[in-house]
């Protein structure tokens, strides 16, 4: 019975004298290794040299501020719901009088934590965000020595007022237009009319 057509007849022929001396074979091998002396090494000296990364690279998150410097996040929890790795946790706070320059909406995230060890950098939080508050950037999450160092709080996530982080590569007009398409799940939920209709049923 023939199972496959990959049968190979093994050659058991005696080695010739030259083969038994091994020296020609050794010389051949030595020439092969020596030829690699003159090949360019593909290594990149990382901190000094960096590989180009894609425009839409998904790295460390940023919580954006609006043009007045107020935090955009309203602590709706959509990102935490969307997150497949359950890396996002947050608690909400209510904006007091006189804090309008700090928080854009009446409700804000009092704490906002992303566990960078759980995060899989899929970008679903960014897609879910109705307030254009969270974005993934081209920054790489720093290495650390302890697990707790990888739970990033608002101190690391919210962009500094004087050091704005450019997300125009990810927040292109096409993306903005796409997010406004009716029928997308988060648009549906946040469309007040549809929300009321749902309650009526």
């Amino acid at each position: 019975m023939q199972l496959t057509n990959r049968k190979v007849v093994v050659s058991n022929k005696e080695q010739s004298f030259a083969e038994r001396m091994y020296l020609p074979a050794i010389a051949k091998g030595m020439i092969i290794t020596a030829s690699h002396l003159f090949k360019k090494s593909p290594t990149i000296n990382y901190p000094e040299q960096k590989r180009p990364i894609a425009n839409v690279y998904r790295g460390q998150h940023v919580l954006k501020r609006d043009e007045n410097g107020a935090e955009r996040c309203t602590s709706c929890g959509m990102c935490a719901v969307a997150c497949p790795a359950e890396a996002i946790t947050m608690t909400s706070g209510e904006r007091k009088k006189g804090e309008e320059h700090l928080y854009r909406e009446e409700k804000y995230a009092a704490t906002y934590e992303i566990d960078m060890l759980r995060c899989i950098f899929c970008g679903l939080c960014e897609e879910a965000c109705p307030k254009e508050a969270i974005f993934l950037t081209d920054r790489i999450v720093d290495a650390g020595f302890e697990r707790k160092d990888f739970v990033f709080g608002k101190d690391k996530l919210v962009e500094k007022i004087d050091q704005r982080i450019d997300v125009t590569k990810r927040q292109t007009p096409e993306v903005l237009a796409f997010k406004k398409i009716p029928g997308l799940k988060h648009n549906e939920l946040y469309d007040a009319k549809k929300l009321n209709k749902g309650h009526k049923h």
Partner: protein
């Protein structure tokens, strides 16, 4: 007398530091060379281009915790690496590094001592070297270390015979003197010994690989089978001594091969070059150029050692023994017989 003692002391210190320095940088070059052969870059972080890596490695070795197993034989455990290191350094004593130098109207040999049985001394010291491995491996009281030590000793014994016979043939063809100085000076005029001893050189080279326990003969310390071989239980600088002595051995055997077979500090048209530069015997420039030539040859041999290591896979143990006893020993005897016949017709042997 004082001048003599000072001269010897300076020579000893210089050769000692040279061996250590070359061995230290051989460790770096080994890693660099391996990296180049494998399309990598090698160590490049310590100092410019990784030049301070040997110092970093040395500091690391000293800082490591030193563990002496409770079940080991404590004194022998310490003697092992010391003996290995001492014998490695001792071999450099008889090597002449360059032509004599004239200082204050007196010709000084650039050699620690020129004993007339230099070749036998070399073979003797090299075979004592295996005691370091044996003692270290046995005193560890560990089966892997013991296996490594047993392998090392049987390997050394097997390959020393072929090596010795290859050297006998060399000495016959180079004029009959056992002094290394005479052997190297004899290659001053005419050809280097490799021309008359190609087979002998091949045998000697293979045996030198085996004697220094380097790949493809690194069975005593093969990681895949024996954890670390004879130095499994060693840590800190005692391990460092074992590893370091291997590189000193490599340096010395490169020096011996370059001296015995490739003319040492002589090079083609050396006397013509010296005459053109108007140098007379004893000029320090002659010594310097000669030493440069010798050192270049040594470095090339060290590179070949590494090149072989990063090309060939390790032998199986029975293959190693077959090669030593069934191939190299008969070959070296054949080489001896051929040498005698050739030298008879060249008129160097008279019955």
């Amino acid at each position: 007398m004082t001048a003599f003692i000072i001269y010897k002391a300076i020579m000893c210190a210089a050769v000692f530091l040279l061996s250590l320095g070359v061995a230290a940088y051989a460790t770096l070059w080994e890693r660099k060379f391996a990296a180049f052969l494998q399309d990598r870059k090698g160590p490049s972080r310590a100092g410019p281009g990784g030049l301070l890596q040997p110092i970093a490695d040395g500091v690391k070795m000293f800082m490591k915790e030193e563990i002496i197993p409770n079940v080991s034989n404590r004194s022998l455990f310490i003697i092992g690496p010391c003996l290995f290191m001492v014998t490695a350094v001792m071999t450099s004593v008889v090597i002449p590094w360059a032509k004599p130098m004239m200082i204050g109207g007196h010709l000084y040999d650039l050699q620690i001592t020129d004993i007339n049985i230099g070749t036998i001394y070399l073979l003797g010291v090299v075979s004592i070297g295996v005691y370091g491995i044996m003692i270290g491996g046995w005193a560890s009281n560990n089966k892997f270390a013991l296996l490594g030590a047993v392998r090392a000793s049987s390997q050394m014994i097997s390959y020393e015979i072929a090596m010795g016979i290859a050297l006998i043939a060399l000495i016959i063809s180079s004029g009959g003197s056992l002094s290394l100085k005479d052997i190297i000076e004899g290659q001053d005029k005419g050809f280097a010994n490799i021309v008359w001893q190609p087979l002998g050189f091949l045998i000697f080279f293979i045996c030198a690989l085996a004697e220094t326990n380097r790949a493809p003969f690194d069975l005593p310390e093969c990681e895949t089978e024996l954890v670390g071989g004879y130095h499994t239980e060693y840590s800190s600088m005692k391990l460092g001594l074992f590893l370091f002595a291997e590189y000193i051995n490599m340096f010395i055997s490169s020096a011996i091969m370059a001296g015995f077979y490739f003319g040492g500090y002589n090079f083609p048209f050396a006397s013509e070059l010296y005459a053109k530069l108007g140098l007379v015997e004893g000029d320090w420039l002659i010594s310097l150029i000669g030493f440069g030539a010798y050192f270049t040859k040594i470095v090339i041999f060290i590179c070949v050692f590494m090149w072989v290591r990063w090309t060939l896979p390790r032998f199986r143990y029975d293959q190693l023994m077959n090669l030593g006893w069934k191939t190299l020993l008969p070959l070296s005897l054949l080489n001896l017989a051929l040498t005698v016949v050739v030298e008879y017709f060249r008129g160097n042997i008279h019955f």
